[in-house]
Symmetry: C2
């Protein structure tokens, strides 16, 4: 055997997921920077603050439809056969906040968004009225405040719009614009650099297609994470060392190294990475993905994960989310639902298991069918699965018909 | 009233959602172009074809772990206290497909991804073995094929990887790479131009903040749609006409015009748009969003929707998805789950209603709590709601405890 190879070792001791999370979150990492940006540019970012409205929206009672502003009691008896006729005092445009006023027997023609005149309390929709010159025949009664958007009805002064850690969606940013905020403080996109290692996957000379790299690059790309392809290096220590030296100078908040992290003699990744920083933990009682290690290199977490696609994805997903939750308050990045498990699943080896399931909608609610395939290299299991179920390490299995928490990873049909 | 204003009219006749979908899908629209792209660039695109694997992955039996390739019957009695010693014939690297062979009593040191030698049928994990020079002590038995990824186990020759209309996710594109495909045929991103109309929202002079435009721009932005901000025009016919003339020359597959589409006298949008093309339908029995009209302008669908944020979003979502489903075979763009409705909801006015609900995970599965707010302008209802439930026009309401289909529009906690 070439001299740079060590004998196959063992992980000293695999620790539990919760112990690993504790080690991860009690480490002092470099802060993820925050920035103030235009709400229009904030889609998918993680909010760095709670945002509370300091205004009422709308700021005045306004019409929710095009029609006629009336006093509801004036038209209580109106019908197609007995229309009630009101005089029209004028018209009120959308967004107009001039001060009109009504008396009994009168109405204003009003457009969606127009301010309701004083004393008026409801709006008759245009299709329930027939205009004849300066009068209108109302053919249907309205309830008090019907078709009226009341001041503060949409967003009230003091209302929480976004919490720290929320991922900003279209409705959040539109609400920020509605309350007149020109900027919002968000976390900068986390730059996650991903390196693959392994002679067998080096383009040109390797005999195996590297599917783990594109899987991770695309799975973790999101509104709050930019994944960066840092290429493939062979299993030669020198090459990995020089690559790491180079990328540690770049502006990366997270580094991921795939492959070369299991128990094999050729696993030079741990040897090289620990020259640069300190081990946070190495090896966790999870399956797939137990070989995950995290190093602290100058405050940057270096996630060393399996070269196998599913093991890499599941272990990185678990710990990257915990990292972000701790550093940014990230609330939820994946949808979770409860579902009824269709059959018993055993978990005999005291590891936290990430069970891949197919979620299906049935007449009785959502069910989760466990997939038989559990190999950590089985990429196609991710094509068939649309959910993940965690079985904790101290649980020997899940029962048929048990209600389980499922993290949704694909479309539910 | 200025002369360019018409009197308030009515929609001739609101049609049902299904009738409207039929009119939409029986119109001959310009094809959404397809293109062949690198799978690495295909995240979020809609696949234009079924893709079937023409190879087995892996192409040979390979090790799923680092360890020792053995004949399972050789180590059936192995334990910590009674290890079984095997001679090591050599080592097999990851991805290596050279032809080794075993006999009883022998083993190969093998790395994850390495080809299993002939006659070997299983791999003992490195942590269940202790190497001593050229021999290894096996301390745990294995089952036949344990830790072996068998040829075609991941993806088999003939297996369907992606269907036409699937949105390509990380696992799809990694599978395309695994089967050696250098390109994938996808629909080009749909360019959806969005124009807002209304004097009251014209920046600088208008008194109302335009929240509908950013809401739609961000909600519909996706891996398969690029939304394009075409700005705001006032209610002056001439201005809208010249804007339309200009944008119809651009490469847009969908045009959305918000505002000026309800029943009001100032609703000049329909008048102007029909100078350029023909009405497909105008007004649908849905709430919110009944004022949606679609025009066919030289094969480009022009969606005219309410200026109110929620009405605009819900009606455009409903019909844009139907459009894409018909034109591209789009399977699912939003996750749907079944949930138990927590209270009775009435639907008295024979419209298809889009009920906003809060989905919650409970011990008994997923429940949907209807939101009381139903105004079509109530933006904050989208902050509180994480699901939409459709009540068909011919259904007078939904019962408490009824199992309903919910389209997920936000995080479920």
């Amino acid at each position: 055997m070439p001299s740079h190879r060590k004998k196959m070792g063992r992980f000293e001791k695999l620790i539990t997921f919760n112990e690993a999370v504790k080690k991860l979150t009690s480490t002092s990492w470099n802060c993820i920077p925050v920035e103030k940006i235009d709400p229009n540019d904030s889609l998918g970012r993680i909010s760095a603050n709670d945002v509370v409205s300091d205004v009422d929206v709308p700021s005045f009672n306004r019409s929710a439809v095009d029609g006629y502003a009336v006093i509801f009691s004036d038209v209580s008896g109106a019908s197609e056969f007995n229309p009630i006729t009101l005089d029209i005092l004028g018209e009120i445009e959308a967004g107009q906040s001039s001060h009109h006023s009504l008396e009994t027997g009168y109405s204003y023609e009003i457009y969606t968004g127009g301010q309701i005149p004083d004393k008026s309390d409801s709006v008759v929709m245009a299709e329930d009225a027939v205009r004849r010159g300066d009068t209108v025949e109302i053919t249907r009664p309205v309830r008090k405040y019907e078709n009226v958007s009341r001041s503060g009805e949409d967003i009230s002064n003091g209302q929480l719009i976004i919490s720290r850690g929320d991922v900003i969606r279209a409705q959040h940013l539109a609400s920020l614009i509605a309350i007149g905020h020109d900027d919002v403080e968000v976390f900068k996109k986390v730059r996650m650099g991903i390196i693959s290692t392994g002679n067998e996957i080096v383009p040109g000379t390797g005999s195996v297609k590297n599917t783990t790299q594109p899987l991770l690059l695309n799975h973790f790309q999101s509104g709050y994470t930019d994944t960066i392809d840092l290429g493939t290096v062979s299993d030669v220590e020198k090459e990995l060392r020089s690559t790491l030296e180079k990328i540690l100078k770049e502006d990366l908040q997270v580094i991921v190294i795939t492959g070369g992290t299991s128990l094999g003699a050729k696993d030079i990744v741990p040897d090289v990475v620990q020259e640069f920083g300190s081990l946070v933990f190495g090896g966790v009682l999870i399956k797939p993905g137990r070989t995950i290690s995290i190093y602290n290199v100058s405050g940057v977490p270096v996630f060393c994960v399996s070269g196998l696609p599913v093991a890499a994805l599941i272990s990185l997903e678990a710990f990257y989310n915990e990292f972000l939750k701790h550093e940014t308050g990230l609330v939820g990045s994946r949808i979770r639902v409860k579902a009824r498990l269709t059959e018993r699943v055993a978990n005999r080896d005291a590891k936290r298991a990430y069970l891949r399931v197919t979620l299906k909608n049935t007449e009785m609610g959502v069910v989760a069918e466990p997939l038989r395939i559990t190999g950590s290299g089985i990429l196609s299991s991710l094509l068939k699965a649309n959910g993940l179920v965690v079985i904790p390490e101290n649980v020997e299995g899940l029962e048929e018909n048990e209600i389980v928490d499922v993290t949704v990873i694909g479309d539910v049909v």
